[in-house]
Subunit: 350 residues, 2 copies
């Protein structure tokens, strides 16, 4: 294991004392960076994440250019269903699409069991490469989609307006749904274990579509399987972050799923959430991503509001409440990082 020069992010995940609040930005290796677009111009999205050298290059860009306190491996959550045998096609400006969505239990049974060390070797190779090139500058985060979120894509085929297909699937074919969720939980746990083995220092589980569910269905179809993933990950002390966007009904439940950190979107007040759940997990977030469209004064005010709301505690990782938007000025992202690094110091004086 590399000795990290900057381990603020990992310390904050573990609620240890830090001298300032660490920051990284969801989708920080992304289209808002001209340097990313330059790589992307030469190839397609899928080839990019399947080529370790290209994935490594864009993973490291925001560390150099924006100054974030952690890198996150450039990849896609759909690599797991793809490795299980589902054909993936990238529709330009529309996002990824599965050509043959899951329709019934036979489709579920046809999915392959995956061996991440073989089927997802390209991700593990990218991890090794990034670790080598980062050379301990900042920690590296690995990630996976939650079983519920993966299943949503696999049944809908892609994004959706009303998410009718996935809802019909869980209500009318619950047995098939639970069997698929079980398979995905096993696959995600194996995949995340392999990533940790390959060198990632922390894990984030993205439950992008958790917010589609009613409180009771969220527990039944999403949270239970997130717990299963986390309990099965083979790891030492690498922290796990759960980010269930829009699933804001019961943060105490989320805080008890086994994760070390709970990510928050921008529609909740981080201080209130902390009041509710106390210090049992660290919190990550929660700036409205569109604040980066504003001027510096507004960016600073809003960043300060979040630092102030969280208050003088350990266990906060600054981030946006969702991915950075492609038309944001990179200078604004850089300014946000500077502001958080500087202004957070006074919230860590004990």
């Amino acid at each position: 294991m590399t000795n990290l020069k900057n381990d603020l992010f990992l310390k904050a995940c573990r609620r240890e004392k830090v001298e300032r609040t660490p920051i990284w930005i969801m989708r920080q290796a992304g289209r808002y960076l001209p340097q990313y677009r330059a790589v992307r111009a030469k190839t397609d999205f899928i080839t990019m994440y399947k080529t370790p050298e290209l994935a490594a290059e864009v993973t490291i860009q925001p560390v150099d250019l924006i100054g974030v306190d952690a890198a996150i491996i450039f990849s896609d959550i759909l690599v797991i269903p793809e490795a299980m045998g589902m054909k993936l096609e990238m529709i330009e400006s529309k996002g990824p699409k599965f050509l043959d969505p899951i329709k019934n239990i036979n489709d579920v049974d046809r999915l392959k069991e995956i061996d991440p060390t073989k089927d997802l070797r390209y991700v593990l190779d990218a991890v090794s490469l990034v670790k080598k090139e980062l050379n301990g500058r900042v920690p590296l985060i690995g990630f996976a989609g939650s079983p519920w979120t993966l299943m949503t894509y696999m049944v809908e085929g892609g994004g959706s307006k009303n998410f009718s297909e996935i809802k019909k699937f869980i209500y009318n074919q619950p047995q098939a749904a639970h069997r698929l969720l079980d398979k995905l939980a096993d696959a995600a746990a194996d995949y995340l274990s392999a990533k940790i083995e390959a060198g990632t220092d922390a894990i984030q589980i993205f439950d992008t579509w958790g917010g589609l569910l009613s409180p009771s269905d969220f527990v039944k179809f999403s949270l239970n399987y997130i717990e299963k993933v986390i309990s099965q990950i083979k790891k030492e002390k690498e922290p796990v972050i759960i980010f269930a966007k829009g699933a804001n009904n019961d943060f105490n439940q989320l805080a008890e799923c086994g994760a070390d950190v709970v990510g928050l979107d921008w529609t909740v007040d981080i201080g209130k959430v902390r009041d509710k759940i106390g210090g049992k997990v660290a919190l990550q977030g929660n700036l409205d991503p569109t604040i980066l469209y504003a001027d510096r004064e507004k960016i600073k005010t809003e960043a300060l509001n979040i630092l102030q709301s969280f208050g003088n505690h350990d266990g906060h990782i600054f981030n946006l409440g969702h991915g950075i938007l492609p038309d944001v000025d990179p200078e604004n992202a850089k300014y946000l990082v500077e502001v958080v690094k500087e202004e957070s110091k006074r919230f860590h004086i004990k």
Copy 2:
């Protein structure tokens, strides 16, 4: 004023004692009904709501066919900006689009002040017609979009993925934004006053996009103007419902905006919300609309869960947590109405 044969809905809005929980369904006059599609097949959406006879016909359909306890006038929230001078075009299967979205303060200043009794006469005529044809069977609800939600459509031009334009507008042209919100609040209040004058028995304000905002921006850009609308409506004792979808951060704030009823989407537990705010307002909702894709057993279980969670109190209007989806079987909607009418009785025995 007509004597109502069924005033359960109005009583529940006022938290008066009722013998069972009343129910209506958002977008109940809509595409899931073959009888609606038959009317729609002969004309376009805009002509439909601008023709009082057609609007009245589809408004009454769900009262006859589904058995709901209230009618809601068939119309569109964009009638206000259209009356203010914005050109509206219906893009088939994509929804309404403004041809020239608002870009700056000059565009705001160019908008006309409206006189609803002239500019929106067709809505008021539809209201009168429905009242006559309903003949007191059930109450009639009138509605408007919140100033924030109207402004979002006016600036984005239509629906949006990231809502970048509206966010840029409020952060970078706050003066223009507040001026527009003020105008819209005045227009909405005048419009709703005219609707009440024409005979509607209650009002719902739809803040469809309130959930896009951070907690502090929600107050600044949405809630403050909802309060302004409500305080300016000329009315006797017609109840006002506020439904701010996804704005679930602070129900106590919402409960104090002047509305009699707070609508809930399906991502919160209605019983917990009631525990938080007590009985100071009635609550409306909150079944996941996609539950209507399930079989009768599941529909019944989930309806019972909501009745049980709200418990043995007055002040609940059953509804979905969002509009009914176009591909729902009308028989399932009808079954839900029957179940709520029958099963809710035991929660009203004192």
